[in-house]
Symmetry: C2
Subunit: 306 residues, 2 copies
């Protein structure tokens, strides 16, 4: 345990959680957003960073990069059952960067802010040898949906198609051809803000798929102190042949929503377009993945940050 690499991301987060108290009325470290309760509303706060050559390639088109930067944050707000409102942007820029590139970034960012009723209220700019983008996004909700409120004997659902971002990343990294759907999903993902009003009345717990479907499902299990059975054949998987099904459910960056709901709402939920019932919760505290009746033991569950 001498370096950050040995400790790992979740070891690091545990260390931080232990050291810092939480105020009694606010929900802090460990969910997609922090929840700050006010008189008539709850503020949701999230912050995410994208660094050149860590999270994106240097040739990532700047208009798509802006879409990605804001949508990974919107996705956290949506996963807590809210709508985004105010943004703060920290940009580190190479002084030699072309202003035309930056204009392309800002035009696209502004269009996305406008579409989603987000106001840019502040931030800072600093020089660096490469580009990094850090966005703090504040949203609002009347009823926060947390990771920690799932119960046993509920249904588990996921929105959209899983694994396209993984296949898009693989194709770009290895310079192989891939469908536009996969490339777009990696380069310019869209948070599922379109589904939030439909899902919210039923969801008991929710998370966005940023680290991989399995790892994010595990986060709900751990936070809610439950187990899950997930059925691979029920997941709407990306059709690309470049990656295995296990890769598709462990890479992440899909920014789809994984949520639990009481079984009595199954008919209402299955009427919603683009939502699949993929499993059930239980009391086992274990996450088990079945493929046509066989248990699969994946070598990893999701993205490792260190």
């Amino acid at each position: 345990m001498n370096t950050i690499k040995d400790l790992g991301e979740f070891g690091l987060i545990e260390k931080i959680k232990k050291l810092f108290d939480n105020p009694e009325n606010a929900i802090g470290i460990g969910d997609d957003c922090a929840v700050l309760p006010f008189d008539k509303t709850n503020l949701l706060v999230t912050v995410d960073t994208l660094i050149e050559n860590v999270h994106f390639f240097s040739n990532h088109p700047m208009d798509k990069l802006a879409i990605k930067a804001i949508n990974i944050n919107i996705s956290d707000i949506v996963a807590c059952g809210g709508y985004p409102k105010w943004a703060f942007l920290s940009l580190s820029l190479n002084p030699e960067m072309k202003t035309s590139s930056l204009e392309m970034f800002f035009d696209s960012l502004q269009k996305n802010f406008s579409k989603n009723n987000i106001f840019l209220l502040g931030g800072n700019t600093t020089k660096d040898d490469k580009l990094s983008i850090n966005i703090t996004l504040i949203g609002e909700t009347d009823k926060p949906i947390l990771r920690s409120s799932a119960k046993a004997n509920q249904d588990v659902y996921v929105t959209g198609k899983i694994g396209c971002a993984a296949c898009g990343f693989f194709a770009l990294k290895n310079n192989v051809t891939e469908s536009n759907e996969c490339l777009e999903k990696f380069l310019a993902p869209q948070a599922r803000i379109d589904l939030i009003d439909k899902i919210k009345p039923y969801a008991t717990a929710m998370i966005d798929i940023s680290d991989g479907l399995l790892q994010d499902a595990m986060h709900i299990c751990t936070s809610s102190n439950i187990g899950m059975d997930i059925f691979l054949e029920n997941i709407n998987l990306c059709e690309s042949k470049h990656l295995s099904n296990i890769d598709k459910i462990t890479f992440g960056e899909d920014y789809e929503l994984l949520f639990c709901a009481d079984k009595k709402h199954r008919n209402s939920l299955l009427e919603i377009n683009d939502i699949k019932l993929i499993g059930y919760t239980n009391n086992s505290k274990k996450l088990i993945i079945y493929n046509k009746g066989e248990i699969i033991i994946p070598q990893k569950y999701g993205f490792k940050h260190f």
Copy 2:
């Protein structure tokens, strides 16, 4: 205007301001903090970034770096007349970094949070080749003090000693001896949270000195559409011989407070320890610096980010 370097920081901020609308009831880009008005309070939000080898040297002691990282943000909240409450921390870390270094950083950060009643509510960690620290800090105030509300014929005050951080930086960069006061002021600055209750009843406009006393005074002039006469001999300048007086008032990083107040409050304000009357506002829209009756024309007014 082909690169960011040509455009400069303030050109860049102007571009961003033009592109993004502000909501009618919130104060956004262009002050130390954004101000979000709520039923019974105003939230203040600020975000700042420190990058290894851009804002601090690699051998910056980790306990002092934590103090600097949080205090540069507290300083923005204080400059808007508020107290800090909730923090969000984004850390980029080299996976080979020693956990003992990180522990030193977190222990010091936690002590400072505890001392200032700040709660850490979230953030994110990511790998990179060097350390960078981005903190979003949310504070509260019953009455925000802005840069834009100074009037002509008011007094201009500054807290503390100016230029010590500049001399500390110079000494560390050039490996020359320097007083502990200067080194500490650069390595581990303390925001003037101690003075806020005393200043707040009188301040019409306020800013913290991060970019240099002159440049920050100019920000108040521009935002308030006024001018200022500032008298160098009235400023409590750092005694170090390593830098000129002009360097001391243009380097920044002092994190002292510069504010304006009605002349009728002069006696009350001059009774406060560690506050100096350094000039007067006027209608000229120009910032003029006098040294014993002579006008000084400085070659620069403050720190250039690009």
